[in-house]
Symmetry: C2
Subunit: 345 residues, 2 copies
Amino acid sequence: MNKKKVSLKDIAEKAQVSTALVSYVLNGKEKESRVGHEIAVKIKQIAKELNYQPNYLAKSLRSGKTQTIGLIIADISNPFFANIARIVEDEAKKNGYTVIIGSSDEKAEKSWDLITVFLNRQVDGFIIVSSENSEEQIQYLIEKNVAFVLLDRHFPTIPTHFVSLNSYKAAFDAGVHLIQGGYKNIGLIAYKSNLFHMQERIRGYRESLAENGIVFHPAWLKEVGFDTIDEEIKIGIDEMLASAFPVDALIFATYRLAVTGLKYINALGLKVPDDLAIVSFGQAEVFDLYYCPITYVLQPMEELGKTAVEILIHQLKEPHAEKRQILMEAQLMARDSSRSKAAIS
Amino acid sequence: MNKKKVSLKDIAEKAQVSTALVSYVLNGKEKESRVGHEIAVKIKQIAKELNYQPNYLAKSLRSGKTQTIGLIIADISNPFFANIARIVEDEAKKNGYTVIIGSSDEKAEKSWDLITVFLNRQVDGFIIVSSENSEEQIQYLIEKNVAFVLLDRHFPTIPTHFVSLNSYKAAFDAGVHLIQGGYKNIGLIAYKSNLFHMQERIRGYRESLAENGIVFHPAWLKEVGFDTIDEEIKIGIDEMLASAFPVDALIFATYRLAVTGLKYINALGLKVPDDLAIVSFGQAEVFDLYYCPITYVLQPMEELGKTAVEILIHQLKEPHAEKRQILMEAQLMARDSSRSKAAIS
């Protein structure tokens, strides 16, 4: 380990090339400077041997770039976001960016903290999974001309780059799938949230009933609070089962809702799908390993994550590029938990 | 939204107090300066109204502190680490720190990148879940007098602060539990890794057999590579079942190994625990919702995460404090997947 800070000059001397050439190569600009592949490899090798540590702050002052992306996710303990984070990191790395991550726990206040911290750490741009009531933060970023793209959730009233899921269509498809399987009394457990994607899931579900001539009963829809999910899901399922029109199928609007709900359904001794058919958003190993594999809405995670990185990097190069707003389609993965009533009896 | 940057002076004027007082309050030093509670609340309120953004970099240049912790985890898509990250964040926040997270994907090179990026972003200190072959990085941090604590994994030959699990004891207990349940041919699926905690799990497993007079057969131990886990687990399980001493019980050394293994066990149509008893490290909702709840090694996650934050913060205040090296005990949570042979037949 070298005690003295290794400079570009040190590397240049050892490689017997100019300092400018070393700078080009280590800043990933070998193509522009038409450096031969062999010499580029040699320079990188020497930099590694000497344990060269670029001075990002100094570099940043010169170039205005730090090659760092700030990723703010809504909840790191949710496997959907943890997996998305992994995809974003892989894709960013391929493009020479390092990702630093913060988790907002679905709280606007914490998301605000993270944005401030990351801005002060001079990230080049953000990929953000927004929490509820964080519109002000997004406006702030726009005002400050910060490059960013919203992922998985967006605000229809604020013109931003975004890539998210067509939640309306996905929920609609889930409802239609159950109806086609012979289920009539279909419930939905969602979050109590004014986030657009959650409202769209509720709208899609209700529309699937309406279009198929099924009268919706209020007991079939339960919106639970983030912080009271355990108790509220129990109450919701109890009410759905005890209502004048007891549900025979249930849609969960997220992974966390499904896992919590399934634990309670197990505790009640209900058999899936015989007593209750299940379809869920989100995806996780739990759905595969459950005794009755769970039908789920397959979200194109890989595509979502990669596209977010791509949009952000493009934006960094062309700050005034047209807004890219992408809604991706989900795919319903029908499995045993929602097999048709005819197939059960 | 204020376009002009709000200064401490602006807040002081509005609150009709001195700038020094505002500085004290917003830097969390009201106790030291004996500011009244009411005026402190008022100052914070005004700061919020004016959308005051502290200049961390300037602040950092003066105080040398950024109130930021860099957390490097080994794999963000593993729920164990994602949950630990959540705990670290909550605990750090309580202490006035913001956490920025990076995931090394179990790769020393990526962990090196993250350390460099975080150092250049001037984190106050690190909490690190080390990847294999990252000893050099740890030595580097020691040499540079950077505050850090290792979490979940440590290097016995490098004197650092750490908090991790007594992996030897946990694996030993898992083996003894199965032996007491009447199982004789017990396999272990672990990672091929020279990381100490992994070696300790193997040693604990082997010692549980030896102490109980069971002769170990090489086919019972399969060490799989991180990047070839799917194929290697299948081969390992096939070999264990086809060996001259086919296994009747299996220990998985991590969550990811268990989930991958259980998928294959399901595909083979084997019943747990009738055909094969299971005990696993790690913890996850999957273990609760599996048709036969999985016996697992309960790691004190909450304690691990909180203690790591506590050690780091203490270290930031007293850089030359004695090294704290904590091995926590796991607790075996016996459930259906390893119920005694007598109870099965």
